[in-house]
C-alpha cells in the first residue's frame, strides 16, 4: 500500500523533471481464433476507471495489441508525436501467487507498436497459470513505458485468463521447509476376548464334567485299595504328587533354572522310591500268581 502511494506521488512529482509525459494513442486489442477469425475487438481507454472486461484466451487463440507511443508536450495544445521508447514492456502478473512475466514490445520509430500473444507459441516469460479448481487465476496485464527523456507511463490494460499450464516448478526439498501433514500410526486391533462369564462357565464345565463322569465310572469299577498307605508304596505316590505340584508351581511362578534344579532332586528321590515301590508290587503280583 505504502509502496504504491510512494510510486504514485513520485509519478506526479516527476511532472516537471522531464521533457514530457509518455502516453499512448489508438490503443486497441483484439482476440483472434486459430482460424484468424476475430473473436473480439475493443479499444483501450486510458482512464483506469473504465478498464476493459477480462479477456479469455483459448489454447490456440492469439491476443493482438496495437497502439502508438506518444509523448505529451508541456503545452497542452501541441500535437503529441509518436516516438520510440527505451522500455516498452507488457507485464503479466498473477496477484495471488506473485508469479510475473515481462515481455518486450517492438516499437517502430514513429511510435507504432504491435504486440502479439499467440498461445500456440507462448513466450517463455509467460507466468504459469495452473488450474485452481476448474479455473485459472487471472493475470493482470500492464503496459510499461519508460524512457530516458520522458517520465514513465504505466497502464493497467485488463485481466487475462490463459489456458491452464503446469504449476510453477518447485525444488524437491521445498516441502520440508514448511510444516508437513501429520502422520498417525494405526495400531493392530486388540485381541478380542470372550466375556469372563462365558469362559468362566466353560472353565466350570471343563473342570466339572469329566470328573463327574470319572467318579461315576469309578463307582462302577470294583476298586480295592489295600496298599493305599503301605509304607513301601506311599513315598512313591507322594513324590510323584510332589513333582506334579512342582510343575504346577513352575507355571504359577518359578524360573526354568529353579524348576530344573528342584526337579532333579525330586526326580532322584522319586526314582529311589519308585524303584522299591515297584519291586514291592512285583513281589505282590508274583506271589498273587503263585497263590493260584
Amino acid at each position: 500500500m505504502r509502496l504504491s502511494f510512494v510510486l504514485l506521488s513520485s509519478l506526479l512529482a516527476a511532472g516537471e523533471a522531464f521533457a514530457g509525459q509518455l502516453s499512448i494513442q489508438q490503443a486497441r486489442f483484439s482476440v483472434l481464433g486459430s482460424d484468424a477469425s476475430q473473436l473480439r475487438l475493443e479499444p483501450i481507454s486510458l482512464a483506469p476507471a473504465n478498464k476493459a472486461k477480462p479477456v479469455h484466451l483459448g489454447a490456440s487463440d492469439t491476443l493482438k495489441l496495437t497502439f502508438t507511443v506518444v509523448a505529451k508536450e508541456q503545452d497542452p495544445d501541441a500535437e503529441p508525436k509518436g516516438l520510440q521508447t527505451h522500455q516498452t514492456f507488457v507485464r503479466f502478473h498473477d496477484v495471488q501467487s506473485g508469479e510475473e512475466g515481462v515481455v518486450p514490445v517492438r516499437v517502430a520509430q514513429n511510435g507504432k507498436a504491435k504486440f502479439e500473444l499467440n498461445m500456440a507459441r507462448p513466450p517463455s516469460a509467460l507466468p504459469p497459470t495452473p488450474l485452481q479448481g476448474n479455473e485459472t487465476a487471472p493475470l493482470s496485464v500492464t503496459l510499461l513505458l519508460g524512457s530516458f527523456e520522458h517520465s514513465p507511463y504505466s497502464l493497467e490494460l485488463f485481466d487475462l485468463y490463459l489456458p491452464p499450464s503446469q504449476p510453477a516448478p518447485e525444488h524437491p526439498d521445498e516441502k520440508t521447509f514448511h510444516s508437513q501433514p501429520e502422520i498417525h500410526h494405526t495400531f493392530r486391533p486388540e485381541q478380542k476376548v470372550p466375556s469372563k462369564f462365558v469362559s468362566g462357565l466353560a472353565a466350570l464345565i471343563v473342570a466339572g464334567g469329566p470328573w463327574v463322569v470319572l467318579l461315576g465310572l469309578l463307582s462302577q469299577v470294583p476298586l480295592s485299595t489295600p496298599h493305599l498307605l503301605s509304607p513301601s508304596v506311599l513315598p512313591f505316590t507322594i513324590s510323584l504328587t510332589a513333582l506334579e505340584a512342582l510343575l504346577f508351581y513352575y507355571w504359577v511362578d518359578l524360573k526354568l533354572g529353579q524348576v530344573l534344579a528342584y526337579g532333579a532332586v525330586l526326580g532322584l528321590v522319586t526314582t529311589i522310591t519308585g524303584r522299591q515301590a515297584l519291586q514291592k508290587r512285583g513281589e505282590w503280583r508274583l506271589q498273587g500268581a503263585q497263590k493260584k
Binding site: 508469479e99 507462448p122 517463455s124 507466468p127 504459469p128 499450464s165 503446469q166 510453477a168 516448478p169
Partner: protein, 765 residues
C-alpha cells in the same frame, strides 16, 4: 564237531571271552572317538583356533552373549545392529540348541574352576560331538546287526569326509551337534519300536526336542519316523509296540518342539508337519480297529468297521487338505518346494537358490565325501532286505529318501552320510564275518559267540594300522591263526579267505588315507583366512578379511552402518562389531533386495537408498587381483536377480549381459554393468596397480578398460593388502544442496556451463 578252516584257542572260558570282547569293544570305541576328534583338528593345526566361515560367527557371537548375560537375556535378545533399521529378534529367530549346549558346557567347566575361553569351547564343540556321533552310530548299527558292524559304522562315521566337512574344529554350526542328535533320536526310535517301551519313546521325544532346538533339519526326523510308521502299517506290520512307540514319541515330541520360539505353532499349522499328525491319527484309528476286530467276529460288523475306518481316514485327509486350502495350515514353504523341483528356487526364490550349499550336488563330490562307502552302501541296503525286521525297513527308507535329497542339495549330503556309513558297515562286517568265521558250512550251527569274537578286531586293527601305513602287520596278525593249521585247500581254504580279507583291508587303508587327505586339504580351511603357496612353494597366509574387519573396528565410529552383500553380515557383526543391513540369516527378502538394488544400480540411483538406510560404509569383496573367485562380481548376478524379483521394472537381468549374452567386465560390458555401483567399487583405481599397461582381472580373465570407473558419491576408505576387501565411505550431502556430481566437478575446478534463468511456465503434458 564241525570242521574248521583254522583252530581257535579252545581252552578259554566263555565269560573271559565275553569280558575281553567288551573290553576290546570299549577300547576300540575310545580309539575311534580319539581318531574322530583328532582328524578334525587339522584346521587348528594348519591355521589357528578360529571360528570358520559365516554362520558360525553369529553362533559364536550369540554364545558369547549367552555366556556373559545368561539364558533369559539371550532368549529376549533383540539385536539392533542386525538388519538395520529393522533389527532382529534373535531369541525368536534362531535354533538356540547349539548356543545353549556350549553355554552349559562353559558354565559347568567354570563351576569346576576350569576357566576355559568360550571361543575354544565353540571351536572344539564339533569335534567333541563327532565322538558322540560315532558312539550313537555304533548303538544304532548294533540294533541292526551286531557290535562288530556297529564298530565299523562308528569308525566310518568318525572319519568320513562327508561328515567332517561340517564338523571340523571351528565350524561352529548347528550341524555340529545335529548329526549326533539325528542318529541318537533314530536309535531311540528303533529301540522304542523294538521293545515297545514308552521309556524309549519319551527319550526319542526328548532328543527330538533337542534336535528341534538345534537344527532346522529336524523336519527330516519329523517326516522320516511317520514315513517309517506308515510303511510298517501298509506292510501289515502294525503292532501295539508301534502304537506305544509312535504315540509316546509324537505326543510328547510335538508339544516339546513347540516350546522353541522359532518353531512356534508350525507343528500344527504347516504342511511339513502334517504327515506326522496324520499318521498319529491313523494309528489311533487302527489301534481301535485292531482291538475291536480281534474282539468281535461278526462279518457285517467288520465290514462296517472297515468302512468307518476308511471313512475316518478320508475325513482326516480331506480335513487337512481343506484346512490347507482355507489357509489354517500354511502350505509348503519355498525351501521345501525347492527339494522337489530343483529349478523352482531359481525361478521364484532366488534368495534360496543363491546360497551355494543349496546347489545340486556334483557327482564327484559323492566319491570325494564317501569314497568306498558309496559302493558298499547299496550292498548294505540289499542285506537289509535279506532280513527284513522293522528297523531294516527304517534304514531302507532312510537311505532312499536321503540319497534323493543328497542329490538335490549339497548340504543334505550330511543327512545321507550316516546311513551310508551304517549300511556300508553292515555290508562290510557281514563280508568279514563270512570270511573270518573259521567254521566251514555244515548243517549244524556253531554257537555264534566265536563268530562274533574275531571279526571286529581286524576291522578295528585296520583302522589303527592304516594311518601308520604298514598293512603288513595284518599279515602277521593272521599268521597267528594259520600257524598251527594244516587244513585242506579249496574254496574254504585259508588262502582264499586271506585274499579277500587283504583286499578288504587294503580298501580300508585307502579309505583312511583318502579321508585324511581330503580332511587336511579340502575341509580344514577357515575361509576367513586363506592359504596359498607362494612362487617358492612356501605356504602363504592371506589374511585380508580380518585385516579389513579390524580396520572397521578400529577406524569407524561405534554406530557406523556398514552395507555389504549378506554373505559377510555375520562376519562384520562378529569381527568388526558394526551395524549391518543384511546378514546370513536371510529372513527378509525385500531388505536383501534393497541392498541388491543399491549394488546393481547407478550411483545417483543408489545414493538415496544409501542415505535412507543411514549407510556410512560399503564393504565389497574383490578377487580380481588375486584370482579369488568367490568375490562379489561373481555373486553380482544374484544381487541383480533378487533385486529384480522386487523391482522388476527398475532392474532387469538381461541389461547386465552383452548382446551375445555373455557376462563380461571388460570394455564390451554393457553400460548398465559399467555404471552399477558394484562394478565401479570393484574396479575403482584398479588400473593404477598396473602402472600404464592394461589391467587384468585374474578371476574373469579379462582385460579391463583403459579408463577406470570414477566415483562421485563414494570415497574409497580402505583396501586390504591383496585388494580382496574394499571399503568405501558414503559422501555426506553437499553443503550447498547441489548434486554431488556437480559439487565434485566444482571441487575439481571444472567450468560449469552457463545456466539460464528458469522457465516458469510449462505446458500441460
Amino acid at each position: 564237531m564241525a570242521t574248521k578252516a583254522y583252530t581257535l584257542p579252545t581252552n578259554v572260558a566263555p565269560e573271559t571271552v565275553a569280558n575281553i570282547r567288551s573290553l576290546v569293544r570299549i577300547v576300540s570305541l575310545a580309539l575311534i572317538s580319539a581318531a574322530a576328534i583328532s582328524s578334525r583338528l587339522f584346521a587348528v593345526v594348519n591355521f589357528e583356533s578360529i571360528i570358520h566361515e559365516f554362520d558360525p560367527w553369529f553362533n559364536y557371537r550369540a554364545t558369547k552373549l549367552l555366556a556373559a548375560k545368561g539364558f533369559y537375556e539371550f532368549w529376549n535378545w533383540f539385536d539392533p545392529t542386525a538388519w538395520y533399521p529393522l533389527g532382529r529378534v534373535v531369541g525368536g529367530t534362531i535354533y538356540p540348541g547349539l548356543m545353549a549346549t556350549s553355554g552349559v558346557i562353559y558354565n559347568v567347566l567354570h563351576a569346576l574352576n576350569l576357566p576355559v575361553d568360550i571361543r575354544n569351547i565353540c571351536v572344539l564343540l564339533a569335534p567333541g560331538f563327532s565322538a558322540l556321533t560315532a558312539w550313537s552310530t555304533y548303538m544304532f548299527t548294533k540294533e541292526l546287526k551286531d557290535e562288530s558292524a556297529g564298530l565299523l559304522a562308528a569308525a566310518f562315521i568318525g572319519i568320513v569326509p562327508g561328515y567332517i566337512s561340517r564338523s571340523v574344529a571351528g565350524s561352529y554350526d548347528n550341524e555340529a551337534i545335529a548329526i549326533f542328535l539325528l542318529m541318537f533320536t533314530f536309535y531311540c526310535w528303533i529301540k522304542a519300536l523294538k521293545t515297545g517301551s514308552a521309556f524309549f519313546g519319551t527319550l526319542a521325544a526328548l532328543f527330538y526336542f533337542y534336535m528341534v532346538a538345534a537344527w532346522g533339519g529336524y523336519a527330516f526326523i519329523t517326516n522320516m519316523i511317520p514315513l517309517h510308521a506308515l510303511a510298517l502299517i501298509l506292510m501289515g506290520r502294525f503292532s501295539s509296540r508301534l502304537y506305544v512307540a509312535y504315540s509316546s514319541w509324537y505326543a510328547i515330541g510335538t508339544l516339546a518342539s513347540m516350546q522353541v520360539p522359532f518353531v512356534g505353532f508350525q507343528p500344527v499349522r504347516t504342511s511339513e508337519h502334517m504327515a506326522a499328525l496324520g499318521v498319529f491319527g491313523l494309528l489311533q484309528i487302527i489301534a481301535f480297529a485292531e482291538l475291536v476286530r480281534s474282539h468281535v467276529s461278526s462279518k457285517q460288523f467288520q465290514t462296517l468297521l472297515y468302512a468307518s475306518v476308511v471313512a475316518m481316514g478320508l475325513v482326516g485327509f480331506f480335513g487337512i487338505v481343506g484346512l490347507t486350502y482355507k489357509g489354517w495350515i500354511a502350505p509348503w514353504t519355498g525351501r521345501f518346494y525347492s527339494l522337489w523341483d530343483t529349478g523352482y528356487a531359481k525361478k521364484y526364490i532366488p534368495i534360496i537358490a543363491s546360497v551355494s550349499e543349496h546347489q545340486p550336488t556334483a557327482w564327484p563330490s559323492f566319491f570325494m565325501d564317501l569314497h568306498m562307502l558309496i559302493f558298499l552302501f547299496p550292498a548294505g541296503v540289499i542285506m537289509c532286505f535279506s532280513k527284513l525286521r522293522d528297523e531294516h525297513i527304517f534304514v531302507i527308507i532312510y537311505s532312499v529318501v536321503a540319497s534323493y535329497f543328497a542329490g538335490v542339495m549339497v548340504r543334505l549330503m550330511l543327512t545321507l552320510t550316516p546311513v551310508v556309513c551304517v549300511a556300508a558297515a553292515v555290508a562290510l562286517s557281514s563280508l568279514l564275518d563270512t570270511y573270518i568265521d573259521p567254521t566251514e558250512p555244515v548243517p549244524e550251527e556253531i554257537e555264534p559267540t566265536e563268530a562274533e569274537a574275531t571279526p571286529q578286531d581286524p576291522a578295528k586293527k585296520s583302522k589303527k594300522a592304516a594311518p601308520a601305513g604298514n598293512p603288513t602287520s595284518l599279515g602277521e596278525y593272521f599268521s597267528r591263526f594259520t600257524g598251527n593249521t594244516n587244513k585242506p585247500r579249496g574254496i574254504f581254504g585259508i588262502n582264499n579267505r586271506l585274499i579277500v580279507l587283504f583286499n578288504t583291508f587294503g580298501m580300508l587303508v585307502f579309505f583312511v588315507i583318502h579321508c585324511t587327505w581330503v580332511t587336511s586339504n579340502a575341509y580344514s580351511s577357515p575361509s576367513v583366512v586363506l592359504a596359498s603357496t607362494g612362487a617358492d612353494g612356501n605356504p602363504h597366509i592371506i589374511d585380508d578379511f580380518r585385516e579389513a574387519y579390524y580396520w572397521l573396528r578400529q577406524n569407524t565410529p561405534e554406530d557406523a552402518v556398514v552395507m555389504s552383500w549378506w554373505d559377510y553380515g555375520y562376519q562384520i557383526a562378529g569381527m568388526a562389531n558394526r551395524t549391518t543391513l543384511v546378514d546370513n540369516n536371510t529372513w527378509n527378502n525385500t531388505h536383501i533386495a534393497t541392498v541388491g538394488k543399491a549394488m546393481s544400480s547407478s550411483e545417483e540411483v543408489a545414493y538415496p537408498i544409501l542415505k535412507k538406510h543411514d549407510v556410512d560404509y560399503i564393504l565389497i569383496i574383490f578377487g580380481g587381483l588375486l584370482g579369488y573367485s568367490g568375490d562379489d562380481i561373481n555373486k553380482f548376478l544374484w544381487m541383480v536377480r533378487i533385486a529384480q524379483g522386487v523391482w522388476p521394472d527398475e532392474i532387469q537381468e538381461p541389461n547386465y549381459f552383452t548382446k551375445q549374452g555373455e557376462y563380461r567386465v571388460d570394455d564390451r560390458a554393457p553400460d548398465t554393468m559399467k555404471n552399477s555401483l558394484m562394478y565401479k567399487m570393484s574396479y575403482y583405481r584398479f588400473n593404477e596397480l598396473f602402472g600404464g599397461q592394461q589391467a587384468m582381472d585374474r578371476v574373469r580373465g579379462q582385460q579391463m578398460p583403459k579408463q577406470g570407473p570414477t566415483l562421485d558419491y563414494l570415497d574409497e576408505a580402505f583396501t586390504s593388502e591383496n585388494w580382496i576387501v574394499r571399503i568405501y565411505q558414503v559422501r555426506k550431502e553437499d553443503i550447498l544442496g547441489r548434486d554431488l556430481k556437480i559439487a565434485n566437478a566444482f571441487e575439481q575446478g571444472r567450468k560449469r556451463k552457463k545456466t539460464k534463468p528458469p522457465v516458469r511456465r510449462r505446458a500441460l503434458a
